[in-house]
Symmetry: C2
Subunit: 435 residues, 2 copies
């Protein structure tokens, strides 16, 4: 009999089916035996009313996580997960497991320290809660690509081994490239800008590497960046409009296609307003002074506390979980940032705050060759390492801009995960290279 | 007036539209001026019958590749690219370019050495032929994801910084990970197998790194691997059936959605037979002996010449551009390869040949913990570096297998590109870290 997936069983009431997967749990209750089969997509309950039916599972060598196939009759049962269960079972063991896993995979809650979850990720990632988180990560990537493809963006893949650090010499991993020093890309920034010259609208989903020597729950050293960059913009507000649509599409996709995962993780999904409210950096500092009597005016950046206050204000004032802060001071932004033509000390850049925490950074970039030469000079950076990048500007680039969403950070904030490391399959941190 | 894309102009005959892009070319022919505008998607001809209309383009500082906007009336013109052109022009220059690009971007042919194309990739990638190739690369990735998503595969992203080399200690890039040695992943092999334990069916599109010190037209040191792995297979033939469908879907997607690119590049697209013919490794060697009187029997692998002969045979015998060779000898395959239960010197693995060249490798993997312990012992490999990988097998894994398609190699063979470096945006080779 051909095997079907657990999530396909509900449509087969009254028929015999075959499922296969992991023995998620076996409870023996005075003559009646309940087993749960877990496959790659869901859980299915099977009920054996005779001892004979579960003979194959009785040896001590057959514990939870054993690989089994179960044939049975599909019966409606409101109490069972998915509303159906299997009766009259025929069970076969494909690969028995005798050792108990390092954590209980069949308890509803994940009662384990983050370090245990991470040390044993090859197994702990099988827990339905971990699986739901990782599945949402797939949903975020797919939704990001879908919306941008529908807006005529072209997908690119840019090199991860680079000759020089992207934005500064700090926090890069150095590697030995056939005897020469090379570095791991901190971001595809330069390459995605260059590719605006080729396809005008480009996006990339790929790993980026930051050698930040911080041992916190907010740091990982390799993460997945969702990058977009496009040409013929008016200014950073064009980019903000695009980002609003991207965020809205990602959230809508998760709500429509990942309902089970969101329920399992008890996620309270935000809605993205048609118009995300925005406030200029300088005004934001004035507002904080007025509302909280703390004078941060003149500071070059917002503190986490400032961001929380602004988040509260956006919620109260606009009933919005999202807020754009625009016009960050030029002196804290990278050299390719486009200055505000009206007030050149401020920039045509923005941060998107979500519930009072920075989620996405973006903005308009310089597009004239001479502006780059001047900006590098002002930043006291040499021209030579940037020559390949500058070549794109020498031969014609339109006004352009873009943004980068950290996939793990987005998930962390959406799901309220306490540790960013738990939003990814096998995180890399200052101590962790394995698994 | 709102700007539209060049490829949207054909539907607006009789209306005035605004397009924007790069000044691809300007020909002045005795009072009539033809200009071609290139945007991220196509080319559009515009005709100025008066000198006044092109005043903005006349200064010497405004050369090809200048960023311009052109407003004009859409007129049918069978001779023009796309069947339409603009008349009664209003031209504005957004960003003038005076220097001539390193190669002619507006000639139909690419008359340049590969090294020139690669050294100046930020600009040469703008040539319509280069752009078509790179766009097809996006199509391959999207089609790969689409077919696997529709087959209930989950997308994963696995770490690129790893503690040990994947399959052997050779040809890995070493990096400094907070003072410790680490390596760039040669393939997501171990992680994708582990994730079969989580999602059962997984795929990944991501960079892999091979420190092969070869300076040839077939080598690049960073490439995009299209990886798939899935559980509950019968044997390697289940994997071959899946791969057949993946290849068929990729080719069909390109033919349906990338027609302009395929025409531009004059690609002769193959069809994938419903049943791809297959031949066992040992039979293939017998066949070569019979047909070509060259005795390769007993050799542990097929030579490029062997593969070409087999390709010719498949074409003649089955009229197929594709041929599976199955059952490669165990001694040349990695330790996780599943042996043929009937003839343990041979493996449950395969290569897919396309027009006589190896295109994809795949097969069934070991799935029992004890088999791994034995295989590592036999390969004289220590267990310790593999412990995280083995943990997945300790706690229950189904029979599984998968394959990896090198995106660049696939494009090279489909398009007949002479140099694999020209199938990617910014290749990395033994000498090339820039651009």
């Amino acid at each position: 009999m051909e095997r079907i997936r657990t999530v396909e069983v509900a449509g087969r009431v009254g028929k015999r089916v075959c499922v296969a997967g992991w023995l998620h749990s076996l409870r023996r209750m005075g003559g009646i035996n309940f087993l749960i089969i877990r496959d790659g997509w869901g859980l299915l309950q099977a009920v054996a009313e005779t001892e004979e039916e579960i003979t194959a599972l009785l040896p001590e060598s057959v514990g939870v996580e054993s690989i089994i196939t179960v044939e049975g009759l599909v019966v409606s049962e409101a109490q069972a997960p998915g509303g159906v269960e299997l009766h009259e079972l025929k069970i076969e063991v494909l690969n028995p497991v005798s050792e108990l896993p390092p954590i209980s995979l069949n308890k509803r809650k994940l009662n384990a320290q983050p370090s245990t979850l991470l040390d044993h990720a090859p197994v702990t990632n099988r827990h339905p809660l971990r699986r739901a988180t990782l599945r949402l990560s797939a949903g975020v990537m797919a939704a990001f690509r879908d919306i941008l493809t529908s807006r005529a963006f072209t997908e690119i893949q840019t090199p991860k081994i680079v000759a020089a650090a992207t934005e500064s010499g700090a926090n890069v991993f150095e590697l030995n490239y056939f005897g020469r020093p090379a570095y791991l890309a901190q971001s595809p920034q330069f390459y995605k800008q260059i590719m605006v010259g080729v396809f005008e609208r480009v996006f990339e989903v790929g790993p980026v590497f930051r050698a930040e020597p911080h041992d916190t729950t907010r740091h990982i050293n390799e993460y997945v960046s969702l990058d977009a960059e496009f040409g013929f913009i008016e200014d950073h507000f064009t980019v903000m409009t695009m980002l609003r649509d991207v965020m809205a599409h990602i959230l809508q996709t998760l709500q429509e296609s990942y309902r089970a995962e969101l329920e399992l993780l008890k996620v309270e999904m935000p809605t993205v307003p048609e118009q995300v409210p925005h406030i200029h950096f300088a005004e934001a500092q004035e507002l904080i002074y007025r509302l909280h009597k703390v004078d941060v005016r003149g500071e070059p950046d917002l503190s986490p506390q400032d961001e929380r206050w602004l988040g509260e204000w956006a919620k109260k004032e606009f009933n919005s979980d999202f807020l754009y802060v625009t016009g960050y001071p030029m002196r804290k932004r990278p050299f390719y940032t486009y200055p505000d033509p009206q007030q050149p000390a401020y920039s045509n850049s923005f941060d998107l705050l979500f519930r009072g925490t920075e989620l996405v950074t973006g903005g308009q970039r310089l597009h004239r060759y001479q502006d780059y030469i001047a900006a590098l000079e002002q930043a006291r950076l040499p021209i030579e390492p940037f020559e390949y990048y500058l070549e794109a500007f020498k031969y014609g680039m339109p006004p352009h801009g873009g943004f980068a969403i950290g996939s793990e950070r987005l998930l962390m904030q959406l799901l309220g995960t306490q540790n960013v490391k738990l939003t990814t399959t096998f995180p890399r941190d200052i101590h962790r290279l394995v698994p």
